[in-house]
Symmetry: C2
């Protein structure tokens, strides 16, 4: 592996390679993640072009050295950790907008572009990328985890917004999955194969994104319910109504209490009902929103809903929505230093949502420690967050059991063990339970065909086969 590092240094210039222990540590561990490996990369490399990435891959292939791509480091399933060591490829300097085509409603970007920066740059043309994961996320990471966020209810997930990808394969070959039409049925859908593959099939070096037109107007309403069951049932009815909402989010009583006690100044301007609460975003022409609001109010009444609170100004609207969006940040900031945060998600068919949220809350409640639920209920997807003491073995085991019970239940309900965080290190065994050995074997066959040495982000999505080059290299190192 160190031979590979030296060759890369010669090729790229020495300041494109870091062996600094602090830098390596910062690329190996995350407080947000439940799945941190003890492995560390031998070096961090900083390419600036697709061609440089290709050369790095050629060298790594020559020396059987794992390559682990790194975006913003905000993923939560250990997606960027280095259990088999190797070289971490940080895309921070590949952060350019390559070309913007407002008339075609698309933009070509490098993987290190942050989605919020991108949206600021293109807003003057009335366009935006309608995904909203962590504010820190970069497009490369968003592609690799098939991310989504609160906007997914209306706009779908990352896979729906990628027109084409330029990818460097393990051996350095550069491929482009498609040209730039918004629609195509020409050949295999390689784009969708790489979206969500977590860098295990190749390193994404350029992305063409579809863009959506910024809606003329938006509005936000907040409404609370006596029980999770009422809130979920109301949400299910809204989904079935066909009213085109921009987002439909749920926060439980615990989360609402967190807002009252620890929300930002803007969020604490009002006292929130500490009950299960739906956050509803409307978007479209102003006139249509008025109709949508009336329709939503009339549907929700039947579910013991409290008073609707509507944002009165655009600032008020931003504040209300940030109460939802800052939930994970707030929790990270209030977590006692000695404790860890377990943050996970599942997604189920919509009709099972109320049931699984109820059961999961009940189980987590029995732990006797902090736990809360936030849901992208419009997609049948929700997150559970638990604080626990990692030094307390029996508590840690109890939390693990509780989370696995939730995973098993999601699988029983024909759901998935990961709605929007991908698999990483943390959910490999759950994925096998979800899909079964035949489907997993097909995925592994594809992996072997594209990356025969298994050196692309090894140990993610599935375990390595015995005798894989990456294992041998890590053992030798």
């Amino acid at each position: 592996m160190l031979k590979a590092v030296k060759e890369i240094e010669l090729l790229l210039s020495s300041d494109a390679v870091s062996l600094d222990a602090d830098v390596i540590e910062a690329h190996s561990h995350s407080d947000w993640s439940t799945s941190n490996s003890t492995g560390r990369p031998v070096a961090i490399v900083y390419p600036r072009t697709t061609e440089e990435v290709s050369k790095i891959a050629q060298i790594c292939t020559k020396h059987d050295t794992p390559m682990v791509p790194f975006g913003a480091g905000s993923s939560v399933e250990g997606n960027f950790s280095s259990p088999y060591s190797g070289i971490c490829v940080d895309f921070i300097y590949m952060d350019k907008v390559v070309s913007f085509h407002p008339e075609d409603m698309d933009v070509v970007v490098q993987p290190g572009v942050n989605w919020m920066d991108l949206n600021k740059q293109i807003a003057q043309d009335g366009l935006f990328l309608p995904l909203d994961p962590s504010p820190t996320a970069t497009v490369g990471g968003m592609v690799s985890t098939n991310c989504s966020g609160t906007n997914a209810f209306r706009y779908g997930t990352m896979k729906d917004w990628v027109v084409n990808l330029t990818v460097v394969l393990a051996d350095g070959r550069i491929i482009k999955t498609r040209q730039r039409p918004r629609k195509s049925s020409a050949g295999y859908n390689l784009t969708s194969l790489f979206v969500g593959a977590e860098g295990t099939l190749g390193l994404v070096t350029e992305i063409t994104l579809k863009l959506a037109v910024i809606p003329q107007d938006t509005s936000v309403a907040v409404v609370s319910f006596p029980t999770i069951k009422d809130a979920s049932a109301a949400a299910t009815r809204l989904i079935r109504s066909g009213i085109q909402l921009a987002a439909l989010e749920l926060m439980d009583d615990v989360q609402m209490g967190v807002l009252n006690k620890h929300g930002s100044a803007a969020v604490r301007k009002r006292v929130w009902d500490e009950r299960p609460t739906l956050f509803i975003k409307f978007s479209g022409p102003t006139q249509s929103i008025k109709g949508d609001i009336l329709a939503v109010e009339s549907i929700i009444k039947a579910f013991n809903a409290g008073e609707f609170y509507f944002a009165k100004t655009k600032q008020d609207e931003a504040d209300l929505w940030s109460a939802r969006k800052e939930a994970l940040w707030t929790m990270t900031s209030i977590k006692p230093k000695s404790q860890s945060l377990w943050s996970t998600d599942v997604a189920v068919p919509i009709s099972r949502l109320a049931e699984i949220i109820n059961l999961s809350k009940e189980d987590a409640g029995k732990l006797g420690i902090f736990s809360s639920i936030i849901g992208h209920v419009g997609d049948g997807n929700f997150h559970e967050a638990i604080f626990y003491d990692p030094k307390n073995e029996s508590q840690t085991q109890a939390v693990m059991d509780c989370v696995h019970k939730m995973m098993d239940r999601a699988i029983e309900m024909e759901g998935t063990v990961s709605g929007e965080h991908a698999i990483g290190l943390g959910k490999k065994s759950c994925l096998v339970e979800e899909l079964g050995p035949a489907t997993m074997n097909l995925m592994k066959d594809l992996k072997s065909a594209v990356d025969p040495k298994w050196i692309m982000n090894p140990g993610k999505v599935f375990d390595l086969p015995k005798g894989a080059r990456a294992v041998a290299a890590a053992t030798a190192a």
Copy 2:
């Protein structure tokens, strides 16, 4: 191959296998298609369950016998023809709705289900599958070609509506790509790999489809323009406006003339302007549609638009839309018997649409024979149809040259050679030009990993490698 047929007969019962010459012919040739091969399957087999398909695959693998899936036979690129002979697997008896989950807004079907029949069955629950290819199409074929139609502008293409697939691989293994969540980021997106793969990676035997809520109301408007350039420019401006139209279609002067002369009785109730015409479909709450119509009228005025004609009744609306939908049928019915129809499509970035339609019309006009253009302009996708005499070699060559020029132009404009018909036999060489050898090689690597003998629908999407078993078997037969 005949050994394989005999084993299948023993296994399935003799009436599940046909060796009848007329039946074989009907499964080998299409008047709608430009790409008919001279090869014929040795038999047609009719499975009724996934398990039967699996057994067929095991037998075919044992005897190196190609398998060609057959849905409704309405594809246009030779997708179901049998250039290497083999066994044609007709899914006509696998036409059941397996389970319908209105509360989850999804339905599980067998591949032989017709999409219009399905929509009739589920309409009472206010749901529909929002794709609208040929009225004859079955879900299996729709999956395999990644079809779309006029609704794609609002609802996307087939890949956006498939939740999971059950697939029989070449060796008989049965895999299911996912469970039934509406959203997932768990493992590779195998679903999208099989959608659009034209049966070259496996035989799809069960499909879970997302469903959409039937809009409260719809409306249709028709408006003509002096030139294609005006019509395309108006369409482009509408797309950029963000007004959420249900469909945005273009028919050229020639097509409008066909409506006047040969349309159905309902369509001929009015005299159409024989000029380039946009067909615009609105959908949503009645009140929102009113707003959308005003907005569309004000945008389009600037492009020398004629008078808007709005459907006055629901019947009128159906008639107006059928004028658009029946275009291909009308052409097939007026085509002189001695002539053939060349029907093809491309898609380009939206800003290039006016230019490529203009140039393509100009080129086709020089042929001095019937040619027309219909466009799903909302997606940058359009169809060209040409009547020609297949016995007239120089004319046939001129038509081929003209079509290839259109393909080359679409590629130059960063477009695709197939917007919604897939590749089949007909567009293999164009696909290589579109994507280049590195990307094609990756597709072939995936094909080899999943179907090492190359016996799944061989000769489609790309040519077979030398020495492939399917070639050997066909040569021996």
